[in-house]
C-alpha cells in the first residue's frame, strides 16, 4: 500500500532520496495544471514545475509539517511562477507579446488555479482519491483495488471530496490566494 506524503517526506529526509520520485509522480500533474493557470507558455510551465520540485527537494529539511507537502509545494511553485513572469517582463519590457502573456496569466489567475489550491487543502484521504480519479485517470473500481477499499467507500470518499472542494472553492471566490504563506522554503 502507498505511504502517506508525511512518510515519504520523512524517508527522503532519512537518506532515501530516491523516494522523492514518488512525490513527484504523485503531484506532477496537479502542479503542472496549477502552473499552467499562471504561465501560458508550455515550456515555461514545464521549467517552472521542474524548478519547483527541485527547490522542494533541496528544502525538505525545512518543511515543518510534512503532511502539508503538496500545499507547501504549491507555495514554492507560486513563487517560481512569479519569478519567471518577472524575469520575462525584464527581458522583453517593451514587447507586446510579453504584455499579452502577462495579461493572460493575470486573467487566468482569477479562474484557474483555485481548483489546485482547493485540492491541496483537502485532507489527504480525499485528495488521494481525487488525484487518482482525475489526474491518474483510474476508474472508481481501479481506485478501490489500488487502495484495497470497498467500491462503496471510494464513491462515498469521492462524494465527500466533492463537497469539501465546493466549500473550499466558494470560500476562495472572494479571497486572495493564500497557499502556505507561512512556511517558506
Amino acid at each position: 500500500m502507498d505511504l502517506t506524503d508525511k512518510e515519504y517526506v520523512e524517508r527522503c529526509r532519512d537518506g532515501h532520496q530516491e523516494d522523492f520520485r514518488v512525490l513527484v509522480d504523485r503531484y506532477q500533474k496537479p502542479l503542472f495544471a496549477y502552473l499552467a493557470g499562471r504561465l501560458r507558455d508550455g515550456r515555461q510551465v514545464e521549467e517552472a514545475a521542474q524548478e519547483s520540485f527541485v527547490r522542494a527537494f533541496l528544502s525538505l529539511k525545512k518543511l515543518r509539517k510534512p503532511e502539508s507537502f503538496y500545499s507547501w509545494l504549491l507555495g514554492i511553485a507560486g513563487r517560481v511562477a512569479k519569478e519567471q513572469l518577472r524575469s520575462l517582463k525584464h527581458r522583453q519590457q517593451d514587447c507586446e507579446v510579453t504584455e499579452s502573456i502577462m495579461a493572460n496569466a493575470a486573467d487566468s489567475q482569477e479562474e484557474n488555479y483555485p481548483l489546485e489550491e482547493a485540492i491541496a487543502a483537502l485532507p489527504e484521504t480525499y485528495r488521494q482519491v481525487i488525484l487518482l480519479r482525475y489526474y491518474e485517470g483510474l476508474s472508481c473500481q481501479e481506485i478501490a483495488t489500488r487502495l484495497a477499499l470497498p467500491l462503496g467507500t471510494v464513491t462515498k470518499t469521492l462524494s465527500r471530496a466533492y463537497a469539501l472542494l465546493r466549500q473550499e472553492l466558494a470560500a476562495r471566490e472572494s479571497a486572495e490566494p493564500t497557499v502556505n504563506q507561512t512556511e517558506l522554503p
Binding site: Q17, E18, F20, R21, V24, D25, Q28, K29, P30, F32, A33, A36, R40, D41, G42, R43, E46, A49, Q50, F53, V54, F57, L58, L115, E116, I130, R133, Y134, Y135, G137, L138, S139, C140, E142, L151, G152, T155, K156, L158, S159, Y162, L165, R166
Partner: protein, 447 residues
Amino acid sequence: MNCAECRENLVACVEGLLDREESLQCQAHLETCAACRAEYTAITRLQRQLVARGQATAEVSLVEPVMRQVHREQFKPERETIMSKLLKHRWGLGLGATATAAVIILIAFLSTPKIQAAAAEVMTKGAQAVARLASIHLHGQVRSAPAENFGDVNSTEDFTSIELWKQFEPELKWRIEKPGRVAAMDGQSTLLLVKPMNLAMKISHPASSAFDTGWLQKIADLSNTITNELNNALAKGWKLSLTEERGTDGRTKSVVTVEAKAGLPDNDYLKNKSFDTSDTRRVYRFDSQNGLLEAVQVYLAGKSGETLIFELNQIDYNQSIDPSVFQFELPANVNWYKEELPKLADNDKYANMTAQESARALFEACGREDWVEAGKFFPMPVPTLFRQYLGGLQLISVGEPFNSKGAGPSDVFVPYELKLKDGSVKQMNLHLRKDTQSGRWFYCGGI
C-alpha cells in the same frame, strides 16, 4: 428513491456505477426534485473541470527530469565515483578489441543512487554533444497503418514512413507526419489532420506534445532521452546493457539497450497495441567519438519472439527548417472533431443507454444507412469512408463490454460481429468512451 437515498447514490450515479434499475430510480428522482438536481449539476460541473485538468496534463512526465536534477544536486561535490571510474575503465577495454563483433562490456541491474548518478554521467556524455540543438529532423519507419494513431503499433502491419521535424530555437515548433496523418505545432496552436477521414482537431495553444506523439517527441529530446531511459530502467528494474561495436564506416559505436515493460498484464486487450502499452527492447546507437545518436530500433517483445516495430535510420542535426513545414492547409470541407458532445433534444434516451446498447444502436443505424442517428454516437460527422464501409451492414452479435488498464476510466471495448455489404464478416471490438457533458457513449476506434 427519496432525497437521502438519491444524495447517497449521486456519485455512483454520475460515475455510471448503479445498476439499470437504481440508475432509472435516481434519474426519476432528479427529474422531480430541484434540490437534488442542483446538487447533481454542481457535481457534474466540478467533475468537468477536474476531467479537463486531467486531460490537459495527461502527457506530463516530469519524474525523470526532476530526479536527474536531484541527482546532480545530490552528487555535485563528487566529480568521480567508484562506479564511474569502473565504467570508464571497462568502456575503454572494448575499443579496438574486435573488428566487427559487439563486445558486451556491462550488463547490470543498477541499484543505488550513487551508481545511478555515475552511470547517468557516462551515458549522457553523448547526449551533451547535442544539448544545444537548434533543430532536428528524424526519418524513420513504424509498423502501423498509414493513417492510424501516431502511438499505434501493429507487428503484423507493413512498415510505413514517419518523420519528425522539431525546431528548438528560437521558438519550439514541430511537425510529425505519416502518409495518412499529420500533426503540427507552429508556435501558436497545435493541429491534427487524419487524411482519409478528412478529420481535423485543433488545440488552441502551442502544445509541446499532443495527439499521442509523446514517444517520438521523447526520442527527439536527445539530451534527455538516454538519461530518461536509464532512470526508468533503475526505477522499474528494467534490464539495461551497454555494448560497443565497429560500424560499417569503421568507427566505434556505443550501443545502449533498454528492455522496457509496459506494466500491463499479458491478457490486457491493449497490451502491445501502442508504444505506451508494449513491452519493448529499445536500442540506441551512438558514434563513440562525436557522441551523436545515429540510429534507434524498437523491438516488440511478444510471446513468440521479437519483432522490429520502429526504426530511426536518419537524423539530421541543426538543418534549417522552412517555417512553412510547421503549418499545413486543411481541406475546405474538413470535419472537425468535437472535444465535447453537444446535448441532444432527446439526449436522455442516449445517455441512459449502456455501452452495449449504444454499440448495437450505432451499428443498426449504419445498417439502415441512417447517418443522422449513427452520428449521435460520433464526435464528428460520420466520415464518408465509414458510410461507404458500414452502410447496409447486417449486425450478427454484440458482446459484453470490457475494460483495459491501458485505456482511460471512461473507456470500454464492446465485442461485435457483423456482415458487410460485400459479404465479408468482421469481428472486432468497438472502442467507446462516455462523454462527461452529455453522458452519451461515443466512438473512439475499433471500426
